[in-house]
């Protein structure tokens, strides 16, 4: 698809109230701060005129310059110089591509905006062409699942979640995981998450555990999240947010991995019951998967090491140390 080369169009003054107030079918702007642009226009004036399209009913839709129009409205301009094309001059796809290339030349699109682009293209361009031409342009991997993900991201996520995403308060992976939940459940999980302010890693653990527990316990997310044990942590005034986040994840992990957590606790208890020298510590391998436990001894010189080894040799209960689940198997 070629993009029409717009020969200079004489601008005309347009009443801003006649221009549709939302991005419309061609613009891809989401989550922007209008103030810097408004300040710039206020200082040096409007350098490039927006481009509009007029339909048979004389309604004006923005092709290029949505943010500028928004800024000018904020500044109170009552006439805006715009280029105006008629529907017979450009096709909808051409309008879309004009906007896309105009944007790509001047700024980086955020993830939601990329979703907007792909959604709009999807209805007008073959999937293969999107994958081969437009995904690389948007710096996205050229595969079907990435395309579907960005389309869903734009279509299905609530505005608030999208805003969190572009403000980097949640990661793209978190957004992906949230998309796997039913809309209502997602909204509950997101509200819970945004109250606690989990870090990115914690968000993943939280959603992972919630999705698993919902399926394993056959209980909707909102019911799970409203349980007194979780609510109690949320409203506990003795805890700050990072402490709440840790406590919630600990609780969910204990529920998702009961045997593992039980074994970890039993091992910890057993080790702390041993009268180990202060400079010695015993550690279990990750998830107890490797067969060996690890003894760590800190020392400054050989004499100190020998003393620690002698004390270890006399430590009672060492020979009973082993896999903490032995009696359960």
């Amino acid at each position: 698809m070629g993009i029409p080369k717009i020969t200079p169009i004489e601008s005309q003054l347009v009443n801003p109230n006649k221009i549709e107030d939302f991005p419309g079918p061609y613009c891809m702007s989401f989550g922007f701060d209008i103030r810097p642009l408004a300040q710039s226009i206020d200082r040096v004036g409007l350098v490039n005129c927006p481009l509009l399209i007029e339909n048979k009913n004389a309604e004006l839709t923005v092709i290029v310059g949505y943010r500028r129009i928004h800024a000018l409205k904020t500044l109170g301009w009552d006439r805006i110089p715009c280029g105006v094309l008629s529907e017979s001059e450009v096709s909808p796809l051409e309008c879309l591509l004009l906007n896309l290339y105009d944007n790509l030349a001047t700024r980086k699109l955020n993830e939601v905006e990329k979703g907007m682009v792909l959604n709009r293209l999807h209805s007008q361009v073959q999937g293969k062409e999107i994958l081969e031409l437009y995904m690389p342009l948007l710096e996205l991997p050229s595969n079907e699942s990435a395309l579907l993900f960005f389309i869903k991201l734009e279509q299905e996520l609530d505005r608030e979640i999208k805003e969190y995403l572009i403000q980097k308060k949640i990661s793209l992976q978190t957004a992906k995981m949230l998309l796997k939940m039913e809309p209502d459940e997602r909204s509950h999980a997101f509200n819970f998450m945004s109250n606690i302010k989990f870090n990115i890693n914690q968000q993943k653990q939280f959603i992972d555990n919630i999705i698993d527990l919902v399926l394993i316990e056959n209980k909707p997310a909102h019911e799970l999240l409203n349980e007194p044990s979780l609510k109690g942590i949320l409203v506990n005034k003795q805890l700050n947010n990072p402490q709440k986040a840790k406590a919630i994840l600990k609780l969910l992990r204990g529920r998702r991995f009961p045997s593992l957590v039980k074994a970890e606790k039993a091992f910890k208890k057993k080790v702390s019951s041993l009268d180990l020298p202060k400079s010695a510590s015993i550690h279990a391998p990750p998830y107890f998967e490797e067969p060996h436990y690890r003894l760590e001894v800190l020392f400054r010189e050989g004499k100190e090491l020998r003393e620690t080894i002698n004390r270890l040799n006399l430590t009672e209960g060492l020979d009973k140390l082993g896999d903490p689940w032995e009696k359960d198997v």
Partner: protein, 363 residues
């Protein structure tokens, strides 16, 4: 005839004008055939059905005989995979092939007949080794045998070799061609088994346990040596009673004396499989367990859960018969010790153990 419906055949350029391709097409009259240059020019099937009803004939350029892709962190049986096809018409929720191969369709290698001599030459060149060869790792060995007639090609060739066995592993009852043939020696017909619950809820399009075991009985009565594979074992509500029911069924249908081996393995998967299972099999219980990251990077059950599964199976299988050639698939020395009461210590030890089973049964 196969119980699995083929709705379309794709023939890649490399598979055209091959006798195998012509024979396969003659067994599928009326099925639309599309000639394609390569996979990228073929229509990619719906991600959810993975092209399970599309037979894709191509010429395979890689090695046909490859060692099982075990990892050094766990004890591996040293199996050799005869790579006849990838993907499978059965639709098990836990199947690792869903994430293992990035291409859809039942991909059948039309140049097997040409390459099999090379494989046999390799086997013949090492008479001191025992080659335990199977076709059931990347596909079901028998599910589309009525279309591919792999058994006609492979069984006679393996049957006459003294340093190899061919294991045909299946979840189907497609044994007609096999039992119609005259070859029995050094052929092992194996069934993957699970609990009745897992079989009914997670092994879509597979034959029922009863039917599998009826087919096993028929093969045994026809003189074939049998193998069984409880892999993946999956803890689920009432799993002990459920797996006991399967062992009871085995007792009902099969004589344990002519079983060469029974493997036990617990569900393990690359992390990337989880979202695929969630998407393709909503409602599946196979992800409900307590999975940890194993030493090979795969997700596997927390160790005491695995030990409990194996120990239970061992105790109850050995109540049935003492000499079943039980072994664990991809487990560590300590898990072997704690669940089976002995360990081959390493992959070499396990290979020797299984090779000895071959010698005991086939001589």
């Amino acid at each position: 005839m196969s119980n699995f419906t083929i709705k379309k055949v794709l023939v890649e350029e490399g598979a055209r004008k091959r006798a195998f391709t012509d024979e396969v097409l003659s067994r599928l009259p009326g099925i639309p055939v599309q000639h394609v240059k390569d996979i990228t020019s073929a229509t990619v099937s719906d991600e959810l059905d993975m092209g399970k009803d599309t037979l894709h004939l191509l010429s395979y350029k890689g090695e046909f005989l490859k060692p099982c892709p075990g990892t050094r962190e766990y004890i591996c049986c040293g199996y050799q995979i005869l790579n006849v096809a990838t993907n499978c018409p059965i639709n098990c929720s836990y199947c690792i092939l869903q994430s293992y191969f990035n291409q859809p369709n039942l991909r059948v290698f039309a140049n097997l007949d040409e390459k099999i001599d090379q494989v046999l030459k390799e086997i013949d060149s090492k008479p001191e080794c025992i080659f335990r060869v199977g076709t059931g790792e990347f596909t079901d060995s028998l599910a589309i045998d009525s279309i591919t007639c792999w058994s006609d090609l492979l069984v006679p060739r393996f049957s006459e070799r003294k340093n190899a066995v061919l294991e045909l592993k299946t979840k189907t009852t497609q044994i007609d061609r096999l039992v119609a043939g005259k070859y029995r020696d050094r052929i092992i017909v194996s069934w993957s088994l699970n609990s009745p619950y897992i079989s009914a809820h997670e092994e879509h399009k597979a034959a029922s346990l009863k039917k599998r075991l009826e087919a096993a009985r028929q093969c045994q009565s026809e003189g074939f040596v049998l193998g069984f594979h409880f892999d993946p074992l999956i803890p689920h509500p009432n799993w002990k009673d459920e797996y006991l029911r399967t062992i009871e069924l085995m007792d009902k249908y099969v004589d344990p004396k002519r079983i060469i081996w029974i493997s036990l393995g617990s569900f393990r998967f690359m992390p990337g499989l989880k979202p695929i299972i969630r998407r393709r099999h909503p409602g599946s219980c196979v992800l409900d367990g307590e999975f940890i990251t194993g030493l090979d990077g795969k997700m596997r059950y927390f160790k005491p859960i695995r030990i409990a599964l194996y120990k239970f199976m061992r105790e109850n299988l050995e109540k049935w018969h003492q000499n079943l050639g039980l072994y664990l698939c991809m487990e560590s020395d300590d898990v072997w010790q704690k669940s089976l009461g002995w360990s081959p210590r390493n992959s070499i030890g396990l290979r020797s153990y299984l090779d000895r089973r071959v010698v005991e049964i086939f001589g």
